[in-house]
Symmetry: D2
Subunit: 508 residues, 4 copies
């Protein structure tokens, strides 16, 4: 497949290839799915659903490449990442266009996602110093103790459609620099960005077999999760699938870290800088058309904050320009990823209306004149959402913001903590005490204080809890590195050779 | 139950109590099992098999105690451990006698196990400084990032018969000092030591409900593993049960670390200090009557080391004094824990003989005149054990040492790495290169270089791999602390209040 | 000397002894100084000013004790500290009475200072895990790297009069647990508490020569600073002496960390909880009669906060009960340490009045009827202090609080940053943005946000800057441990022995 | 000056410029010194000895650039280093030629030194994660503690002639990425490489004023050491100068780390792989013509190792090809840096002969036909060197290897520990016990086990002791980062606002 960042004509629809053992190879699978340009609703590629045998071949390649890669000094392994940083910087624009093409987010959002991905590769360059073991000299008389961190073997990444390039970079650079080899299975809806990544890894000098890409659906996933050579699985996706991936991996003796969905609450206190809060909410709820596990999809307006907040939110939502993102445009929000996903969102909005939520801003009628078949939904705001409503509970994964009202900070924190999810939770206030209470008591893993999307930078872990994460060790940060390594302990003592004159040592 | 360290008369057999919410309470369960003094083969107590309802009550007590304990500053929590250290030092002798009474290990071994337990409590006193989170100031312009480590909630320990006092101390002090509350289910064969620990925790000032003890078998275990309030499970036992505990815990949304069995290989090179090697092998294979997951149960004699090694081993094994450990005696090895376990060992020795292993030293005829009904087996040495034999493959968990022969270090390492287990592996040599090769290539988590039992001290993790461990984060060391905590991340930004004159700050 | 906590009669005035090589020994020095009970102004002991020869003997004892102590495993060394914690807890009340007797602070303050000292000893118990070195396996092909932290040798502590028991505990437990031996020279004004510490170290089982005490003035100090066996010097005192100690130590090849004086600014914004701010200011400015390097001696009232702040401060200062602290009493503030110091404070107050500062509350007339000769000064508050005044610039080290006024937070931060000192700086506000600006921009090492005395707990460093600290590595926390250790690095490679058949290993 | 790596004609001798505030500027100083091409003994440039006023201007530029650079997020600062890595990789060959031109080391050695320099820049890319501070939540009830690491301000590097490009990279990338600004004063003998570094920093996008270069001798150095804006000084050079730099810096209130000279001992046991030992000794003693503070200049042959060692050493030394390094050649060793240095070496060899050391290999007659005026000395080996001889004690800094004999490992360790220096110490043996004894007891900071030049990689500190280092925190590794930062501590508490209804929170 020729990876290209310009919208191809219909005749260009070709099957996406796999990347195995350093080669781009065609899948023989007869099962395939379409890849769309969601901006115009046209198919641009065809993604093979790899067979178990094809997955097995990829894993075996990764397994064969492991010993030599493991024994390559970690500073050498990190140098591949230094080169990858340079290549990513150089190609950021064209990669971003490719992401926008297959996913639909705006060019600015795509560039941002490449940048966050680059941060992960930069962080991987710290691994030589972050995988040091410990020593204790003379732990008992004449006995020394030391530990080392070893890689695991073949690691697997299964990644979602919403960040086609960034999420693979959450995983592969860390796993690989730690000395593991890797098999990536990107979302079958957006496989092109992952193939571009394979090209760049090769260009950066990564040896064949260390990074591999297969495609597919449950058959490929199950082949990965049950393969005896696979040692670890990283996953990002929805909660039910995350739970399945986690339990299946565990049952087959692998480590697993599985990120699920979220319903992130954003509390707004009456003393907040209201313009800043509205700006943050809009970016948080409608960025990437709401298709983010860190989207702030539920605003909790406390006390008198409610009316001005909803009024300003509706006004700014109405002004947000929705449009094509596959070509240069001034669109501030793009389409959602597929027609099915759009339909599901429309159904959920209907449900909200039926449940009695007030539609403060209806995005359903949005028009994009030059792309009548694109998968568009305008920014939508529900007000007076009650806690038990579906639009309050469920992760919709689209540009739909629910606003609920609470009488006090206590009530709002309680509401936050009842959510089955636990990725992000945010407070907007000027008050130091309110912020500290929230930090201390809010039951989410990532807390924002006047920060709309509290996603950590690469060197801090992505610390979801409850239904948002399954596992012990999170992606990113030092936890992410620990996930891809195992510690070994060595106790040493040496006995003197009583026969050897020249070696004789006598202690004072 | 009155905990006592002197052998009680038959009439003293009373049911062991539970410890729940700070109180010693009787179990209403009708299902019970005997607790023996294995030195003389007599029952000394009766252990209730708690019902699911009793387990639920204990968990609920722990759950209720959690918020106040979590909000107690960590330095205050650690102070309970400082007091516990003092109490354990003061009571070490009497605790050791109780351990020897119900388990059968020698007094010296029991004292040693108390000392290793004390080391864990000492290590728990470091938790205030070991649970620090990270900060990055100005991670982006005017944005600060910080993390904290929070406790999980109710944690559970399920512990084996071979170290009735030490293994609970691997878990509870760490979990509790991290801010969790704890429910312990000790082995139903040796519940008395755990009850003594409950008394000492209370005496050290631990608030009611923070540490609890229940007893039982699979019913109690399953009630713990599936209880919605339980957040984490620590287990030490045999491999099949470890796997069951791990998978069941994971399926019910808990963290789990589960230690299984082992078959630890001890390589002896011809240049080794042979007397030191034999001394280490004897201590490693026959210590605690071989009932240790760190027992060196398989010696691999390399090249010319074989004959002198077996000769010396047999001679020293013959001299080892086996006897009662429930009273003051000069016994160097005690009984095994139960009659059933003794029978199983005898069956395995028969199997070894049938398979063609050479019985270099037969411990079956051992006599302990003053205790004819004790569960005794003398030190037993098999020579010329072939890799496929049962006595080479299986964890026997008794004083049975198999010796196999290898032509070279390479062959011996290969043999080591074929084991389905991966706790310890040891090399005896004077050669620096041989030791480094072994450290680098042996596929076990804990490596000994001229150290017979490479069990780490408390501040280093107990890093089993393969069939010897299920989980991401090992018991002991920094991994053990990470297991009992979760990291949360906070991003903060503060906006200036443009209306407030006295607050106005203008940056240069 | 018989250490006693009850006021002795005049005839009980005896010379204080030294503690050298595990023995309490008399000084032969003819130069001596008085030790007072400042509550009643009577001499209670006589402190020898040790000769250079006596100092030399103490250092040589410490030097002789070093090798065996260094080679004692760190976990064993830490166990002395575990026992010391227990002894300190048990004796806290009587130690506190002794501190109050010779220093004059209230019993509550003395107990608090013992508690802070205990925290240091608790922290020292973490040293086994905090002095781990690093490893990197296969840093180059077949080359391994590791580091260890070694102790330095003989370390010296020179401590001030204001915390006779606590400041020695900032130093000795850390130095000693790291494997060093130690010579303490306490303030010649308050040597009794240090002798009590020597008794407790011995009782805890510390081997002879590891901890030693000498007394004296510049002669003894210079003998320590220039002694060839001394490796490191820790000092707490005034800025000019700190600078002298630091430069002299460095010139003679020792490490040095030297804490000097301070003038800590406490900013109060108009939105602050005014009662909390006043309470904090009073405790901060008048606690220990103002004789603290963390005393908040300069309040900066911002905007409208000024008048209510001074009004409330003056009212509460007037109510503070001043009295004897050598006997059970309800005094809330005690005397200052000597007559000379009292006189110097009175002179400084006169100077303030002459410079035009407004004496909002005059403490000079304070009466303590049952102790007419005690060294008392009541709480004193200056208002409208201008930045260039002596009472604004100088560290007075007594119960004198200066209040200055600033128009904005910016102006107040600028004022704070002009101070030649840099220990603490505090802000009282409810506003998150003001606090963050202050944290980011205030040029002091220890920042308080609504905390009046921002002295860190033992596991965090005491991070003074500018004129308040000379050195690279602060006392307390991980920096304190680094100060007392040096890192060594080892690179290892092992070559195979091509002649040795049984050792031959062939890599795949 | 046009930096060029080909030997310029005599007429090309031009003054070297300074780099200040982002500009290359001419010095007005009338005092200047010659820069030679030591391969042919001709002058190639003229180095100005900057005036105190010029130094002041450079420091002021660095001071002015500090606030903006400090407030640039650390991840942005690190990105300059990522770009610098790429530029260094791209220009490594031409930089190496320039180094060889002005210093005289072989092209291979120059390339090696650039590679070690690159490793430092790679390590600087880890600084975002290595400068994290610590947190403790709820350290007391409702009180939180956190620390941050701040940069210091203007830092200075004063670097030696032997590694004109690498040593500046030990300092500037770390200091700068930590947020400091930097003034480099390279050796006046080899200023060209430093100017090339300035070009590359600028090309990498470092803002003007962050990195600056001045030149000169004691006047410039003193101007730096005493400048009020300078906060820290890093130095590498000889021991007497290191001591002067250290004491002067300290006296003027700066941090300082000053590396001095060395006399590194290499012990060879009779069981060592003799060919490997000889190869290592040759590389260690004659590499860079012996002008290295990690040069192995004193071999200690133990027992029977002596004769074969010296025989093989002399034979291989005789075969080492000495020649020009300013042009492509097959020379294995180049000239020393100046005529004066050559003369000093010849004097020292005479002294050795007079003292009675046996000249096993005399390098004085070496001929380089195409460069009769080059500063050449061939590899020289003294045997039977006695401990008190000058060639045993002094750092000669040339290709002169002294061999001494010892009867046992104990004697050899004692000899090693008597050296006034303490950089490296090496043992060659196959014996694990001998190596462990050496690691434990040898009084040098960097230990090699079968590694001839135990210089650590960038992420480990360069841990010289005794006369080889003055300071607390070494260059390289985490110590290097700590040197360039200071920790600040913040304690926070927030009081609830009792008047604000919507904020009211009530704890359970």
């Amino acid at each position: 497949m020729s990876v290209t960042a310009t919208a191809p004509s219909k005749s260009a629809v070709k099957p996406v290839r796999m990347f195995v053992g350093g080669e781009f190879v065609d899948s023989k699978s007869t099962r395939r799915g379409p890849v769309y340009n969601p901006s115009i609703g046209e198919q641009i590629a065809e993604c093979p659903f790899c067979t178990a045998a094809e997955v097995d071949a990829a894993v075996k390649n990764a397994h064969a490449a492991f010993p030599a890669w493991r024994d390559t000094p970690v500073v050498e392994r990190a140098r591949v990442m230094f080169r990858l940083v340079t290549l990513l910087e150089k190609n950021a624009e064209s990669i971003a266009r490719l992401i926008s093409l297959e996913h639909g987010k705006t060019h600015e959002e795509s560039v941002g996602s490449v940048r966050r991905g680059i941060e992960m590769v930069e962080y991987a360059c710290s691994i030589p110093t972050l995988t040091m073991g410990d020593t204790m000299h003379n732990i008992a008389v004449d006995v020394d103790c030391e530990t080392y961190f070893h890689p695991l073997g073949v690691c697997v990444g299964i990644t979602p459609f919403n960040f086609p390039f960034m999420v693979p970079l959450w995983m592969a650079p860390i796993a690989i620099t730690c000395g593991n080899t890797f098999v990536l299975k990107p979302s079958e809806k957006v496989p092109l960005s992952a193939m571009r990544l394979a090209e760049l890894f090769a260009e950066a000098g990564l040896p064949p077999g260390v990074f591999n890409v297969v495609h597919g659906d449950k058959e490929a996933v199950d082949a990965l999760l049950t393969h005896p050579h696979v040692q670890a699985v990283s996953f990002v996706g929805s909660t039910p699938i995350a739970k399945y991936i986690y339990e299946t991996s565990i049952k087959h003796g692998k480590r697993c870290q599985a990120n699920g969905g979220a319903k992130n609450h954003i509390l707004v206190l009456p003393d907040a800088d209201m313009d800043k809060a509205v700006g943050a909410l809009q970016a948080s709820a409608f960025g990437c058309s709401g298709q983010r596990c860190m989207a702030g999809s539920l605003a909790v307006a406390i006390g008198s904050a409610g009316d001005p907040l909803v009024e300003k939110l509706s006004a700014t939502a109405a002004k947000l320009k929705v449009g094509r993102t596959d070509i240069g445009s001034d669109a501030q929000m793009g389409p959602v990823v597929t027609k099915q996903h759009l339909d599901s969102l429309l159904t959920n909005i209907d449900k909200g209306v039926k449940e009695g939520a007030k539609l403060a801003r209806d995005g359903r009628g949005v028009k994009v004149p030059d792309a009548p078949n694109g998968f568009y939904l305008g920014p939508t705001v529900f007000d007076h959402v009650a806690p038990q409503m579906h639009v309050s509970q469920a992760e919709l994964f689209g540009p739909v913001l629910s606003v609920t009202r609470a009488a006090s900070l206590d009530e709002a924190i309680e509401l936050t903590n009842k959510s089955p999810y636990g990725n992000g939770a945010v407070i907007y206030t000027r008050d130091g005490h309110a912020a500290r209470e929230f930090k201390h008591r809010a039951g989410a893993g990532m807390i924002g204080v006047n920060v709309g999307v509290p996603a950590p930078m690469a060197m801090f872990p992505f610390t979801g809890v409850k239904g948002s994460f399954f596992g012990d060790l999170h992606i990113q940060g030092k936890e992410g590195i620990m996930f891809y390594t195992q510690q070994r302990m060595i106790l040493s003592r040496w006995h003197p050779d009583s026969h050897a004159g020249e070696f004789v040592t006598t202690r004072g």
